[in-house]
Subunit: 152 residues, 2 copies
Amino acid sequence: MATISDVIESFLKELIRQSQGQAVEIQRNEIAKHFDCAPSQINYVLTTRFSVQHGYTIESQRGGGGYIKIMRLRPERNPSVHQILMEEIRDNVTKTQAVRLIRALQEQNLINDREARLMRAATSDVVLASPLNNRDYMRSRILKAMLSALIH
Amino acid sequence: MATISDVIESFLKELIRQSQGQAVEIQRNEIAKHFDCAPSQINYVLTTRFSVQHGYTIESQRGGGGYIKIMRLRPERNPSVHQILMEEIRDNVTKTQAVRLIRALQEQNLINDREARLMRAATSDVVLASPLNNRDYMRSRILKAMLSALIH
DNA sequence: TATTATTAAAGTCAAAGATAGTCAACCAAT
DNA sequence: ATTGGTTGACTATCTTTGACTTTAATAATA
């Protein structure tokens, strides 16, 4: 039996298909109203059926003019990167593993030097060793680290 | 979803572009009337989208004959913009602020499209909203996000 | 002329409005 | 008993509005 989540999933995929494929932007409350369900149900559908593992990424914004944008990954844009993304990166990657992976990406010419710097910066221990669990604080440190990487 | 603030932002940027580039002078009340919004809305747009870290400076005068002058900074003539950017990034940067900053960097040709994607990915809410305070876990999510950014 | 009042701007800040996110409790079907 | 789905209370974030303040130019007055 199709649950409401299944129905919403199909609906969203149909939307993406109709929009020639790669992305669609929705209002969470509208969709929820349309299917007469709780708004948070949309989040459930997104996390269980539109994750990176499923081949999608999500982008959203709160507040007035808020939205949720669902984008399909395009493996054909870079099959090697896609394969690495899907098969090689587990849920726990140590700093050493990250450094090796980034170097490998570079050696296969999948990323250039600047991009490698950005990645090392964003995943460095310095950045991630946060005493507070504060998103904005971490984000600013990540941004600073990435800009530093491009300047020095 | 384009908010009225977004529309005003585009309008002002278009004005600057048309004026061959570097500066434009407006009347706050006129713009507000034109877009049928509160005058203070203009200030909101200016502070959220035309600050120094976005590559602009503002100059204004109150009273009779008052005005607001928006000037574009020129990074190529002023290398210390890098310095300004580093100093302007506070310890708390929201996602929206990060997105706008990254776009400004791009508009000033300090980073290219791929680099902007990497930065947005590494600083996205999805990545940083970690319930666990686990470095390796976060790092893998950041890496995945960055790779996704290169293929979507 | 010097001073004061009036008018015409722009600035500030906090409250209200509009979205989306999180999380834990509850429910249903294996 | 476990897994997956549903709901709603609470939270976070961004935008819009308006009352009040500040400043500058001009007009009126001493």
